[in-house]
Amino acid sequence: MNSKNENLKEQVLRASGVNVLKCMRCGKCSGTCPAYGEMEYHPHQFVYMIEKGDIEKLMNSPSIYRCLTCFACVDRCPRGVEPAKAVEAVRLMAVRKQDGNRLKPEQIPDMLDEDMPQQAIVTALRKYRK
């Protein structure tokens, strides 16, 4: 388990403030996730993979951009694990990474999916609501 990148795991944990050990693998987060079908790794897998240190797999997965950050998982988690924050942290890790994959404004129109609410808007709504 610790053969995986402990450093990255530590960064994610710090950035998100999530205690993945609190997870008891009930799967309620994935049970409630509206973007479940779009995701390669589902919310409960995010939590478990972070616990196991499998961060790079997550960073390279399109899943991090499929999360709507609707916070349904955070709301419903019986143990207060807050999976959305974990996803957000991994996404940040990916965004902060030097070179290559920084998101450029001109790329956004292509990435928009008309069946999905605009991720950025929804994220902003949820995050800065209060």
Binding site: M1, N19, L21, K22, M24, R25, H44, Q45, Y48, M49, K52, D54
Partner: protein, 663 residues
């Protein structure tokens, strides 16, 4: 000649509003044998009862039929009333015309018709009723507790506390059982010995408690209140009355290579031994399988060093016979053997251990003095893998189909204790489910995960391979990540399923109690009578009834004790007279009845019969012990010749009822 009185109750308007009670009384007055038929507002009231009592005296009645509410309601009321008026209480029958007629029907005509038929049915039955008398059977005011583990000790202490004599029969040289071997207890992590040994001492010092250690029950006869039990006192080759427990003999004994069962065979003891320092009674015992004096007459060191002169190589097994009113079964459990599970390499690698062995490895009185070291090289293990459900929830014949219940919690305890004491150790737990119902149990398990960072992995281990470098490769599945894991562990701990002690099944046969297919004793009722066996006077305590942890065991032990005390408080037991009886002249002696009796109430005897041709024949016939029979009637149907019948519900009575309904 029958003289039957019929009494129809109005129950205010409860019956009278839908049943024409007067018409019912009138119709029933014409039935055969009926000499008086009356109706009254409230039959169960004092004046209603007086009506019945007076009629019994006035008309010299031989049977009474009350048409009223359910017999479950007032049968006893009317039986008592009749008894007061001098009529045998079992000559009363109730026709249920309220719950089963007036309350469910609306049409007066049909409801009245049905009430008449129900009345007729009761008359048909009462005509065949016979007077019955309840037997009284005396109670011996002493209890026997079989098994001296925490369950037996607790039951014995509670019964003794209530002022009754108790004998504990323990097959090992000391009481204490499995709990004495355990290091710490969940979920409080207090030391098992610290809470158990005071109880052991209390039991030995209580003047009402008599401990037969190194003894076994060899025969049980009798029934509730009056059991006769034969106890085998195995020869320990040491005079119990003389041994002071000084332990000098155990130091001097030259035979030092006997596997020490108290430490799960992880170290050795001597041939003459005291199982552990706090043993009760603290008396030495010689193991005849290893003692050189007993095997080939050459040694005798222990006898020479014993200043008390307690060693007696000529001691023989002794049998004593005692009477008891109640028996508490507390025979406990054992972990099953891991040897059948080749995949876990238990027999190939000393560093694959069972949980009980781990308890001893971690215990301060254990082989390593409390430091956790691998059995093979006495090195500190850095990576430990726990495997759950080894043999539990396992349908093939290697394991047991049930959940052993305690493993999830003790594994969390082990993992936590290890991480607490040796924070550099990595601990993995492979599980199928984590089952932690119980007060503070789930919180305890979550603490292991969240606070102590024990890696719980959902999935089972498929293969354990010892490697040349001393590591043990554990190959298992991580169901959540959907991947196969390989961990190089230093120590592997198997959570073995637990099974009832092997002595339980022969004991159940002796006690005529029931057992399930897993050899757990069956309780009289799974919900309402969980600590009694179906056989009256036999109570169940601890794991012999099903897997349990310590608090549950103690709770059940006290409950069993309370039930036993309730029995012992009585001077005699009134038996239900509605029991089976066998007509010896018709009995074939075929044993069919005995096989269906859940209480072991039926025995067979060879009896002499004078035959019509003046010869004498000896025949095997059944006899029912009325103190044990509960009156279910299973035997009456199993009996092919109809020799077996049931008081109060006889074949002819039920058939008379059938006829009355169908007429």
């Amino acid at each position: 000649m029958n003289r039957i009185g019929v009494f129809v109750c109005h129950c205010g308007t409860n019956i009278a509003s839908t049943v024409d009670v007067k018409a019912v009384a009138e119709a029933l007055s014409h039935e055969r044998g009926v000499v008086i038929s009356q109706d009254y507002q409230y039959m169960c009231s004092e004046s209603g009862q007086n009506l019945v009592k007076n009629a019994i005296k006035e008309h010299n009645l031989t049977g009474v039929v009350i048409c009223s509410c359910s017999p479950r309601m007032h049968e006893n009321t009317f039986r008592k009333a009749c008894s007061e008026a001098g009529l045998n209480p079992y000559l009363v029958e109730i026709a249920n015309i309220r719950e089963q007629c007036s309350w469910i029907h609306k049409d007066i005509t049909t409801a009245t018709e049905k009430a008449v038929i129900l009345g007729r049915t009761a008359i048909a039955k009462v005509t065949l009723n016979t007077p019955l008398t309840s037997m009284e059977s005396p109670v011996v005011k002493r209890a026997l507790v079989i098994g001296g583990g925490i369950a037996g000790i607790q039951s014995a202490l509670d019964i003794a506390e209530a002022g009754f004599e108790v004998d504990i029969v323990e097959k090992e040289p000391t009481i204490g059982g499995k709990m004495a071997q355990i290091d710490k207890t969940f979920p409080t992590l207090d030391c098992a010995a610290c809470i158990l040994t005071p109880k052991m001492v209390e039991a030995s010092q209580n003047e009402n408690i008599n401990i037969y250690s190194f003894s076994e029950v060899s025969d049980v006869k009798g029934f509730v209140g009056n059991f006769t039990v034969k106890i085998k006192r195995k020869a320990r080759y040491v005079d119990e009355t003389k041994c002071t427990g000084c332990g000098l003999c155990t130091e001097k004994c030259p035979m030092k290579k006997v596997p020490n069962e108290f430490n799960a065979g992880l170290d050795n003891r001597t041939a003459i031994y005291i199982p552990f320092a706090q043993a009760v009674p603290k008396i030495a015992t010689i193991d005849p399988n290893y003692c050189m004096m007993l095997k080939n007459g050459k040694c005798g060191v222990c006898s020479k060093v014993c200043t008390a002169g307690a060693v007696d190589y000529k001691q023989k097994d002794e049998f004593i016979e005692k009477k008891y009113g109640a028996i508490v079964v507390a025979t406990g459990y054992n972990p099953i053997s891991p040897e059948k599970f080749d995949e876990y390499a238990y027999s190939q690698c000393p560093d694959v251990v069972t949980s009980l062995e781990l308890e001893r490895l971690m215990n301060a009185a254990g082989p390593n003095g409390g430091t956790l070291l691998r059995p093979s090289d006495k090195k500190h293990p850095e990576k430990i893998v726990f495997i759950q459900c080894v043999g539990s929830r396992c349908d093939d014949d290697r394991g047991k189909p049930y959940c052993s219940k305690i493993c999830c919690m003790y594994t969390a305890k082990h993992a936590m204790l290890i991480r607490e004491k040796y924070p550099d150790t990595e601990v993995y737990v492979f599980y199928i489910d984590v089952r932690t119902p119980g007060k503070n149990f789930d919180e305890f398990y979550r603490r292991a995960v969240e606070q102590y960072n024990v890696h719980y992995i959902k999935g089972m281990v498929g293969k354990v391979t010892p490697k040349a470098n001393g590591k043990i490769e554990v190959q298992g599945s991580d169901m959540l990540a959907d991947e196969q894991l390989r961990i190089d562990a230093d120590l592997v701990v198997l959570a073995m399923a637990i099974e009832p002690d092997k002595s339980a099944r022969p004991l159940a046969t002796m006690l005529t109690t029931q057992m399930d297919t897993n050899d757990f004793f069956t309780e009289a009722h799974p919900k309402l009578r969980p600590v009694e066996s179906a056989t009256a006077g036999i109570f169940l305590s601890g794991v012999c009834q099903g897997p349990k942890d310590i608090p549950e065991t103690v709770a059940q032990a006290s409950a069993a004790a309370a039930k036993a005390i309730g029995l012992l408080c009585k001077n005699s037991i009134t038996c239900n007279p509605c029991v089976a009886h066998s007509d010896e002249l018709m009995c074939n002696g075929c044993s069919a009845c005995e096989k269906v009796c859940p209480y072991g109430a039926i025995t067979y005897e060879n009896k002499e019969f004078r035959m019509p041709d003046r010869t004498v024949a000896v025949r095997r016939v059944a006899s029912v012990n009325p103190a044990v029979c509960q009156g279910c009637g299973a035997c009456t149907v199993a009996c092919p010749s109809g020799a077996m019948d049931l008081n109060g519900f006889s074949n002819s009575q039920i058939m008379a009822e059938v006829d009355a309904i169908c007429k």
